[in-house]
Amino acid sequence: MATNTNFEWSVIGHYLTAAPILRGLVVTLELTALSMAIGIVLGVLLAVMRLSPNPLVSGLSWIYIWFFRGTPVFVQILFWNFIAALYPTIAFGLPFGGPQAAHLNLTQLITPFVAGVLALGLNEGAYMSEIVRAGILSVDEGQTEAAQSLGMTRLLTMRRIVLPQAMRVIIPPTGNETISMLKTSSLVSAIAVTELLYAAQQIYARTYQTIPLLIVASIWYLAVTTVLSIGQYYVERHFARGARASSASVLQRWWRAISDLRPLVR
């Protein structure tokens, strides 16, 4: 199978570290990092809002999640890309002809890259908020009551007591989301952001070496996913403070198993 000459392994080797591919990889990493940062901050905010006793606040959060989860992210990407057609400029100031404090030219401000980050980040916020909410709900209510009985306000309780303990539940699915985001970011190739996939497409459109270049992109996606998984292990270990079960990574457990076997081999 792998010896099929159509794979053109030499072509793959040539383009794997080619400058356009590496530049695309950097854009993909930027897209992923920025979108996830927006998604996580927004997710925490929306989750805390959703659990607020104030019906207006929790309602707003519900509507946000309903909207952004209910429309395809691909449509959202296209929408943000064309928003400048809808509102070419935005002015901040007093209404009804008052003085203008700022004047934004959306056509210049919303580049395809910005449109991509906005679309992916705002969409991710809706999904992250449900993950964060699940984490918050997993923390025993007694923790909140104990904090409140010590005179901590609701926000302080959330920040110091509930969220740190919710992290154990929040991190694994967030790792999933990050890896998913890495791959979903390839959708912005549709609005001509030169990320990893689009960089590969630009090359094979010229050379017709479609399969080898798709493999080049896949190799990089796999490599980054591997690095992210390792990072997730260390983040998880950090937030396992005070937990009963020790957490050894799969690699560490393999290494221990192999070390145990060694006397037998000798």
């Binding site: 007694g142 923790q143 009551e145 409140q148 009985s149 010590l150 005179g151 901590m152 302080l156 937030f239």
Partner: protein
Amino acid sequence: MTPMVKAEAVHKRFGRLEVLKGITLEVEPGQVMCILGPSGSGKTTFIRCINHLEKIDAGRLWVDGELVGYRQVGDKLYELPDREVARKRTEIGMVFQRFNLFGHMTALENVIEAPIRVKKVPKDEAVRAAKELLDRVGLSDKYDAYPSQLSGGQQQRVAIARALAMQPKLMLFDEPTSALDPELVGEVLDVMRGLAESGMTMVVVTHEIGFAREVGDVAVFMDGGVVVERGDPREVLVNPREERTRAFLSKVL
């Protein structure tokens, strides 16, 4: 003298179930009041109303002369904003049946958290006070232990130290020994006895008749959301006047 706790016809309902049907009582400063009664009698709900973990539906509840959780305008009550309720709660310590220690913090971190974050006590000062409190409850070798590494009795003693770190005027205990193995009950009761002797005002929901008789200044027997009988523990718990009190005591003794 202003009573430390004053309850006047306190009513509380959960949906259609009326849990408190008009509780009226007073706790004087320095007094230890023990509340006893069968499960479902409303004693835990009442003690949670005192620091506004539960809202009340009717009546009035004062701690040290101030309404708890509410502001009165005319004869109407308005709930106070979160920040105001939180400020009032710093004066009221609470110990829970299931300890509720912060699982991601060591014993010492549990005790210094609220003084540093709420009272803005400098860290070194908070640590010194916390170590003193942990020494006082007999845990001088457990500063850096996480709750999961402590026995139930040790956890409850940390919880008592954590509440005391805020220097409360009043301590509430909600069945503090009910979740403990029998051999660990004594160490927690000893700490509570010491606290009572130091002059702390305490309201204790408990099933420990012996503790109530020895340490309590007042015993209150509750059943079905009302106070059935109250008085000197050596009277109420030895020669109860009411039939319901007698029936309960014959079951638990």
